[in-house]
Amino acid sequence: MSTEQTGALHPGEHLDHEHKPRGITRWLYSTNHKDIGTLYLLFSLAMLFIGGSLAMVIRAELFQPGLQFVDPHFFNQMTTVHGLVMVFGAVMPAFVGLANWMVPLMIGAPDMALPRVNNWSFWILPCAFAILLSTLFMEGGAPAAGWTFYAPLSTTYSSDSTAFFVLAVHLMGVSSIMGAINIIVTIFNMRAPGMTWMKLPLFVWTWLITAFLLIAVMPVLAGVVTMVLTDKYFGTSFFDAAGGGDPVMFQHIFWFFGHPEVYIMILPAFGIISAIIPTFARKPLFGYESMVVATASIAILSFLVWGHHMFTVGMPVAAELFFMYATMLIAVPTGVKVFNWVATMWRGSMTFEVPMMFALAFIVLFTIGGLSGLMLAITPADFQYQDTYFVVAHFHYVLVTGAVFGIIAGVYYWLPKWTGVMYSERLAQTHFWCSLVSVNILFFPMHFVGLAGMPRRIPDYALQFADLNALMSIGGLLFGLSQLLFVWGVVRCMRGVGDKASDRVWEGAQGLEWEIPSPAPYHTFETPPVVK
């Protein structure tokens, strides 16, 4: 799409406007979408390493059979907090950070619609995670009932850190809902003239749909953690059969939040991949309209499939069949997306810079995760897969090689625009190949041990699983170390080390964000561009 800049974009003029506050107050009081985006992304990176360290405790304990390093109760705290930190601290804030940076630039808006809400929704997060992580140092330890915190293990049988956990989740929910409202209001009201709905970049579309999912399900999560709180401390019996409640109701409510949550963590990645593939194939995205329709279909279906997480709780056959069919149906729109990406590459003119490499790895590895998801949908087979490492393999393929690879691809793609310098291609390619190899050493064997019968969330295992667990632990360590290369690459760019990036950065890049200078000035699109 072509744009007509109406006077706002002369670089010299911009420098005059860049009266940003100095020091810590610039960040504490910031209402600038770029600064807040940066805060979100750095916070997410820190959480990735904290969550990763917890995972390394898990992998160290599982390196050999027998108990070596930690007590099983502490092991359960590790699996629980690892999951919570990665889901709510690493993946979700990374996407919000990308949205903060890119949505206004992509739709030609000067900032987010609600800048103060934006500041508030970020600064809640460090508080929420300070509370959550502080429970690790409390008597009785952090929550240990899994990130899914099934009752009554999380109510009657939990330690007193439950109250802190509930408060932390409430804060995360408030932050997410405010962020989602902000994104929706921005996209609805602040599109530049001529930026019609069907011209929106797919990243904006996927985030719009994600934001609606967030608003729909975060209150459900808030509801379920509140019931956990009152069951534990105020004598209610929502999840206690002895008082007329039902432990299975917990799972229904949790997964009514939990399944859309899964798509909250992948839809924006679809948007990033849909931006990167056309750029490096130098060819327009194939099937733009069907991409939008597919994203919306996935979002709607995500409300109808929660039961597939609980096939073993003893549902009526009719309910099991409904959830099986509905789940299988999700393969159709997801397939459409994958086919569209491949068709975009088809007869393009491809180059393979690092964003493209991560995007290609995303397509292959996310599809593997999607296909194992299809297997998990088949109820009779799911009875064998449920709660084994096969499930762990499945959701790490969609979340790590899916969501996280999508985020990393996006960071490399837009980093030159943010910082004004190119990242080191050699360093980044090394990061890519190290990550690709190690992530598969880490997660691929999980399919095998899961099928062979290793349950998830166990600190020790039967001897038949020993060799592959040792291999996975080594893969985990290598994958963690590989991410230090990523940090190095990003820090170099932030310090301005590297070749100067052009405004368009990539030869095939299309869209408003590439029309502005690199690095993006502190204020952009103060006068809206006109999109033709």
Binding site: L67, A145, Y157, M375, I378, P380, Q386, P455, R457, A462
Partner: protein
């Protein structure tokens, strides 16, 4: 001579034998390794169907993956800028987009039909020959035969020393239990599942059974096994600290062997009840020796061998007012448990002698040194008196 050997080596017949042998060897190796890297075929008609379904879907997924990734890699190789590719500008085709929406739907329907049939068969627990009530609690299974006066607990038999790496791990590490569930061959056995505390999940891969045991609710599943043997499974739902240490073991015996086993169990349990009623007072040494043993199997999981517990989760007993002051209160909590906590009612799990011994042990170990002795009769009186 050399030529002769070579020609023999390369003769068609020999090479066919070689290839055949190699193929057979690889197949055998694959089958031998299969259970280590793939779902078990199991030993029931249902488990074979589930395995078949699993493999069918797996192959369909592999074919889809090969086609999609094949096209993608073809494109990566052929349509690269460095190879001089000039980008086409097409960006949609209604025909092809409808096609790749419709084809997956057809594939899904093909998958759904056998899955639906298998599921309906699996969920039909009617007309069973034998019923066992399976109750999960932290971290043991309890089996109660509804057709026989037999019930017992089944707990992990792997010694703690093996778990803490102080002893060599044996082949059945974390799999073996003290008393497996015993069922007869050729009978449709119905399992009713429930739990005393948190949610557990009773899983036997060889039967393709996994069903949650939920406190306050009763779930139902079934199996029919034709092949005698010992089959191992695990708790599959996170149930607290020792979730990884509550295996399931099921011994399938021929009908005659099962009946003999059942008769023996009925007699044994009757004898145990008689012995319990007639339990005589024990000396301090006897109480302490037995008490230490019982503590190790029943109490140490939570309260720890050191008696120090896990602060904030499981209270310590060392120096605790509960175990040093009030004897009747101490007996009551061990016998009846404490509602709303992980402290179970041990009257159902231990004999009066064992209860007396373990209470005595707790009152005198780790420097508690109260000098108190609790006798089986005291415990029996407490049980009689009720909560």
């Amino acid at each position: 001579m050399r030529h002769h050997i070579l020609s023999a080596l390369y003769s068609a017949r020999y090479s066919r034998l070689c290839l055949g042998g190699l193929f057979m060897f690889l197949c055998q190796a694959a089958i031998a390794q299969e259970s280590r890297y793939n779902m078990t075929r199991g030993v029931t008609e249902i488990s074979q169907r589930v395995y078949g379904l699993h493999m069918t879907i797996f192959y369909i997924c592999v074919v889809i993956a090969i086609i999609v990734f094949g096209l993608m890699f073809w494109s990566i190789v052929r349509h690269r800028k460095s190879a001089g590719a000039v980008p086409a500008q097409f960006h949609g085709s209604m025909k092809i987009e409808l096609l790749w929406t419709a084809i997956p739907v057809v594939i899904l329907v093909v998958m759904a039909i056998p899955a639906t049939q298998a599921l309906i068969a699996m969920e039909d627990a009617s007309e069973s020959d034998l019923t066992v009530l399976v109750t999960g609690s932290q971290w043991k299974w309890h089996y109660k035969y509804l057709d026989y006066p037999i019930e017992y607990f089944s707990v992990l038999a792997t010694p703690r020393a093996q778990i803490s790496n102080e002893a060599e791990k044996d082949a059945l590490y974390l799999l073996e239990v003290d008393k497996p569930l015993v069922i007869p061959t050729g009978k449709k056995v119905r399992f009713l599942l429930t739990a005393d505390d948190v949610i557990h999940s009773w899983w036997v891969p060889d039967f393709a059974i996994k069903k949650d045991a939920i406190p306050g609710f009763i779930n139902e599943t079934w199996t029919r096994v034709d092949k005698p043997g010992l089959y191992y499974g695990k708790c599959a739902e996170l149930c607290g600290r020792d979730h990884g240490f509550m295996p399931v073991a099921v011994e399938v015996k021929s009908e005659a062997d099962f009946e003999a086993w059942a008769a023996e169990q009925v007699a044994l349990q009757e004898a145990a009840r008689t012995a319990d009623a007639a339990a005589t007072p024990m000396s301090m040494d006897e109480l302490m020796t037995l008490g230490e043993k019982v503590y190790g199997t029943a109490c140490a999981v939570c309260h720890q061998a050191s008696g120090e517990g896990l602060p904030g989760v499981f209270p310590g007993l060392k120096g605790s007012a509960m175990v040093t002051a009030d004897i009747p209160g101490h007996i009551r909590i061990v016998v009846f448990g404490k509602a709303g906590t992980a402290m179970q009612a041990f009257a159902r799990q231990l004999s009066t002698s064992e209860l007396a011994a373990v209470i005595t042990y707790e009152r005198n170990a780790w420097g508690n040194d109260t000098g108190d002795m609790v006798q089986p009769a005291d415990v029996a009186a407490a049980i009689q008196g009720g909560e």
